[in-house]
Symmetry: D2
Subunit: 305 residues, 4 copies
Amino acid sequence: MNYQAVLEEIQSEIQEQLKKGKVANYIPALANVKKNDFAMSIVDLESNEYHVGKSNKEFSIQSISKVFTFTLALQKYSRELYKRVGHEPSGNAFNSLIQLEYENGIPRNPFINAGAIVTTDSLLSLYKESTFDYILHFIQNAANDKTITFDEEVYTSELKHGYRNQALVNMMKSFNNIDNLTSSVMQTYFKQCSIKMSTAQLAKSMLFLANHGVNPLTNEVLINESKAKRINSIMLTCGHYDASGDFAYKVGLPGKSGVGGGIVAIVPKKMAICVYSPRLNKYGNSLAGTKALELFTTKTGLSIF
Amino acid sequence: MNYQAVLEEIQSEIQEQLKKGKVANYIPALANVKKNDFAMSIVDLESNEYHVGKSNKEFSIQSISKVFTFTLALQKYSRELYKRVGHEPSGNAFNSLIQLEYENGIPRNPFINAGAIVTTDSLLSLYKESTFDYILHFIQNAANDKTITFDEEVYTSELKHGYRNQALVNMMKSFNNIDNLTSSVMQTYFKQCSIKMSTAQLAKSMLFLANHGVNPLTNEVLINESKAKRINSIMLTCGHYDASGDFAYKVGLPGKSGVGGGIVAIVPKKMAICVYSPRLNKYGNSLAGTKALELFTTKTGLSIF
Amino acid sequence: MNYQAVLEEIQSEIQEQLKKGKVANYIPALANVKKNDFAMSIVDLESNEYHVGKSNKEFSIQSISKVFTFTLALQKYSRELYKRVGHEPSGNAFNSLIQLEYENGIPRNPFINAGAIVTTDSLLSLYKESTFDYILHFIQNAANDKTITFDEEVYTSELKHGYRNQALVNMMKSFNNIDNLTSSVMQTYFKQCSIKMSTAQLAKSMLFLANHGVNPLTNEVLINESKAKRINSIMLTCGHYDASGDFAYKVGLPGKSGVGGGIVAIVPKKMAICVYSPRLNKYGNSLAGTKALELFTTKTGLSIF
Amino acid sequence: MNYQAVLEEIQSEIQEQLKKGKVANYIPALANVKKNDFAMSIVDLESNEYHVGKSNKEFSIQSISKVFTFTLALQKYSRELYKRVGHEPSGNAFNSLIQLEYENGIPRNPFINAGAIVTTDSLLSLYKESTFDYILHFIQNAANDKTITFDEEVYTSELKHGYRNQALVNMMKSFNNIDNLTSSVMQTYFKQCSIKMSTAQLAKSMLFLANHGVNPLTNEVLINESKAKRINSIMLTCGHYDASGDFAYKVGLPGKSGVGGGIVAIVPKKMAICVYSPRLNKYGNSLAGTKALELFTTKTGLSIF
């Protein structure tokens, strides 16, 4: 199939969607983007690349970083990790804090904020002050690109305004599900969210999940086959907050979104796809990005269902 | 791959699991089964069949019936149906009634009780007093077997003890999300739950979902390709109540369970599988059945991820 | 103090309030009242009476009936009753059904619908088919007026439209907190809600709660002193649904409202007061009625605080 | 009535109760008390005092401090305060955080932790770094005793372990319902909770609430009559967390408890009572203290109902 042509068709068809939705504005640093930007990249297991739009422009990966930290934590702790964070959909946006209270500080899954904070805490216990470097190094390695770094301004801004996340970490600490200082956990967490990458870099960095855990760019085993599949399954059921079911329904691929406007999706045994468009739908996922991925599976028949 | 050998291996490996878990006992008619029974059937798109255990013994399909009624309603109403029932995981067992109140009587998805009751109500508006016959006929047709019928004793028992479901239908009626008499809706709903089938029959009856909507046994189009995929996606994200994420994680296939002890799973483009074992885990899904399907994807690599 | 003058002042001062709020319209029979009607009656322990407005016009007492059935049930069961219904504020309107699920079918207090339904069920177990007559007789006795009866049209209308209450009774039945047939319970419950009384009759009928359980009109002991005080305390903390705290704050008297537009309030050791005005505030309590009682305690200093 | 004799009777009758319940142990400094201690003090409007037990022994007043800060905030802000904190019972322990999320960071009432934190924040906006001194001075003034101070060890301990309260303040900050630095708010809040007083001092300090806002010891007007009554009403409906209804039911007086083991109750127009016993019931209120107050109103007939 001519994927370049497919991408160009999609780009053309979503022009109207690019004008809809709202850019995340809870911190000034995120609000300050070009609202109608668009980029989409495909990298397949044979290292073929296809791009449209500003595919080398970096943006804040935000919650997409949760996939990397979860991969690292699952690799180190295996099922022990599930004593501290589950792998079920959370059901509802408002539930993040409510369920946390009912369920004694054990977050539903690693892709909601509370779950990702626990995941980061579990890494902090192992890697101490070098935890963020460890995470960043993993991502650079996965993308085979040492230039990837984080955005200082976004980081500082998150740290200053992240009261909701501060509430989550303190709540979990009160349930003894945070082992390190809440301040250290939040610094590391906000720093990982502030990493900036392009669609080209993100597509490459996730390729191991389409390739049973092996990075096809370097042949390095990043995680074993069984765990790679399971990460995909959690992306499918939990990767888009309250709209996870809808994403599975319309797109039919494991995927993870970030409020920065990026979405990564995996076609198992074939490719990784990344799309960027900063305007969000009401669930906090890229509006045009979701539509672009829906068009992609419709045109290619590559849904896993 | 030698699927018969795989089934026999699974049967041998799950013997210990067959002794664990509890049979559903909320109605006497369901409690009255042989607790350690086991059966597993595979039917592929070329009509090859593989069976182990009591694969011709009928059991109560219960919530597996929700797949059939949702298929019929989606076929008739298309996306209009989603005004009355969503397609998101509900998050939590206790949520069925709680979310219903918060979300104004619109159930989260068609595979929780409230959602299936709305689905049945939507069919009642079209087919009136012949609704149940219409549903049964569809199932007979899908399984290519006119002998399939329902269990009068289970039906009567459900009707007598189903106070929780009566609460659900009245709550939705108070939100104007039930169009017919609550008594008619509940009669039809309990009757569809009381349909009895064997693993062999169930595997055949779901084959259309593995075959882009076409029944390979009869070449009849039961639903279009796009909708077939979407039904699979909802089975993956919502098919096992609170354990949907766990089933996706461990088994990696779209599936639907019933408290009667059956589970049906779909391998897209390849086959349908049905397993039966009446003892349930704490989420109300067949304990040994879930394990058997996990062994199946581990041994065959047929997970969709 | 010249209570007649106080009532006349209040009547004059609340004229603007009488035009605000909405009449209950969930059943046609209730919507069909004169919207701007007003009446207020005081009866003291020496049988002095003071009235303004249409104090002999009957209206549907609705939830005010809960005070009578709770009095009867407490008299018969004493603290045994609290195994089936609590005496804590429920916190929130939406909670009625949600808390019921969390708290295993035990309603928070006898003045929310679920709690009153359990109370009625407890009476049904004792008085069988004569339960309603028993309740009505108690009220006639308390008011010293044999003409009091119920409104057939309101009763029929409630029975036909009360889906939310049907949901409550079925939910509690599923938790084994309803002993009788749900249909019998609901018939009796809706009938008691359909009793019609005037402000003059209601003020008299509640006088025993201001007089340590003794009806000063007949010297009959309706309940013992300790229980009479406790009924008052529950009226104060739970008598106005989600606005119970606000009523205690502004009025400072034990009271119970009904969606028919009536409110009864007790001044311990002094008097009973009833006010009627059918337009309701957003909490379902008479808007002008609440204001009238607030003016009453401000003018007389008779708040219990 | 011979109140000294009543207190002695109570002391004798609750000896068995003194052995039940558990001392608060979430911070070491609170756990370190004599478990079976008991004290009870009455001060009436004529300055008569009656005491039993260790009525001069200081203990941590904890949540009783909320009455003082609410009095100060209500005095300064009047009904403007209710834009930031309500006056309704919260319904349930678990609700504190859940309702806070549903209700956009506006706590239900000033006597749950979230509400008291907002109250303290409102004072911080007025009195800046001298806020705690202002609060302490008010209490010293009300008790007519300049020796009252706070416990440094309890304060430090609270500050170190108060993760749940840190979660609350951050959550409210995320809803813009906290104006000052969360660290300043929590320091002031924990300091006010660490104030230590005896039952004799506490009874005196609350006397103004029994005397329409005027301190009878000094004739100083601490708050106006209308507000004094309203503070009493909120103590009645919200003063004992989830057991507020039960306290109203059994004791029948406005009251406020603290996890340090103290309870203060008001008999309007007559007296203030304070009881101390550090073992708590499951709702976090002094077990023997609650029983002692129940005996008091039973013996004296001084319930407000």
